[in-house]
Amino acid sequence: MRDPMQLLNLDWHSEEWWERAFEDDISVQEARLWEKHLVQCAECRREWEALRQLDTILRTAPPAPMLDASFTTRTVTRAVQKQHLRSLLSFLGSAFIIALVAWVVLNFLGNAYVSLGHALHVVRSEWQLLFTSLLQTVLALFTGWKIILPFLLGLAALSFLLLMPNGVLATLLFLWLSRRRPAALAVMN
């Protein structure tokens, strides 16, 4: 229950009061005083009646028309079509992004592979150089000390041939295969 003193301080013309009064958010006492004010104040009475009338008009408005049956079918068809279109577009978008990423990654890997190839080539050349120097040193030592043994020289030549495949072994293999070719063709036919 509100304080009667507070009731006296109510501003009948404030928006706050009108909002509350129209929402019926007021006490019995306030309502009684408000009714008294409406009797006395023609302006408030006119506006109050108009608001009540409007409220009735809105509450008793005829219902909106009913949608026809074809509306549902049309809308469902459109929704499904749009959903499919969106799926297709998102698939194409994803495919494009994957292709782009793959291209960037492969490009990067390709560059890295070329660099690795260079590095391997350098290592192999160094290794060949090292092996040749070692063999020359051994031969020089044998010659210098005049203790050359045919067996050791033969062994060194054989290992040289086996371990240095570029050139000698490839040539031998090519010659061997060239000789074997007519025999191989005869077998295949």
């Binding site: 928006e15 009108w18 108009a50 408005a61 005829p62 459109r78 969106r86």
Partner: protein
């Protein structure tokens, strides 16, 4: 319409989409009809809102009620359409697609039909005096029967802001009503 059905609809299940549309189409149309005042445009807006809802089902928070979420999409659609329109120049007479056309098949007598049509036109003219958001609030309050909290979910406004806008909207329309009667 439960969460599983909405999930199915989101995954493109035609039956679930159909069920969703059948369940909510009339509510959405009622809102669009009151906000736009024209049957054809309201139908377009309803279809647009429902299709948007189907496409955006993944953004719907299943912890919250579905209807306010859907009506928010619909009211945004209507607000956009109202804002895109040229400013209305007259408040008298019917629009190019007024309430007349649909009434004939629905009412028992031509007299009742005419009265209903007049009433619809009157309401449309009253609503047209309001800014779009106020129009939404009035529609949701009077014809969707939603609570202030539910209206808040749809409009993104606080309860006190809704009460205050609702009252101001009523006041604007009541003033028009008084003017209308003094001219009559």
């Amino acid at each position: 319409m439960d969460v599983d059905d909405l999930q199915l609809a989101q995954n493109g299940n035609k039956e679930a989409i159909n069920q969703m549309i059948v369940t909510y189409q009339q509510s959405v149309f009622n809102l669009c009809y009151r906000m736009l005042g024209e049957t054809t445009e309201a139908e377009d807006a309803t279809q647009e809102a429902l299709v948007k809802a189907v496409l955006n089902l993944h953004t719907y928070d299943t912890e919250r009620p579905f209807k306010p979420w859907l009506l928010r999409i619909a009211s945004n659609e209507c607000i956009d359409r109202i804002r895109r329109r040229r400013p209305t120049t007259s408040l008298d007479g019917m629009g190019e697609d007024g309430a007349w056309e649909w009434q004939a098949g629905h009412s028992p007598t031509p007299e009742a039909s005419l009265l209903q049509a007049e009433e619809q036109t009157r309401i449309r003219l009253l609503l047209e005096t309001l800014p779009p958001v106020e129009r939404t609030i009035i529609t949701l309050f009077y014809w969707e029967g939603l609570s202030y909290n539910e209206i808040g979910e749809i409009t993104g406004l606080t309860v006190s802001a809704i009460k205050s806008r609702l009252f101001r909207a009523r006041r604007v329309m009541a003033t028009l009503l008084v003017q209308e009667e003094s001219y009559a």
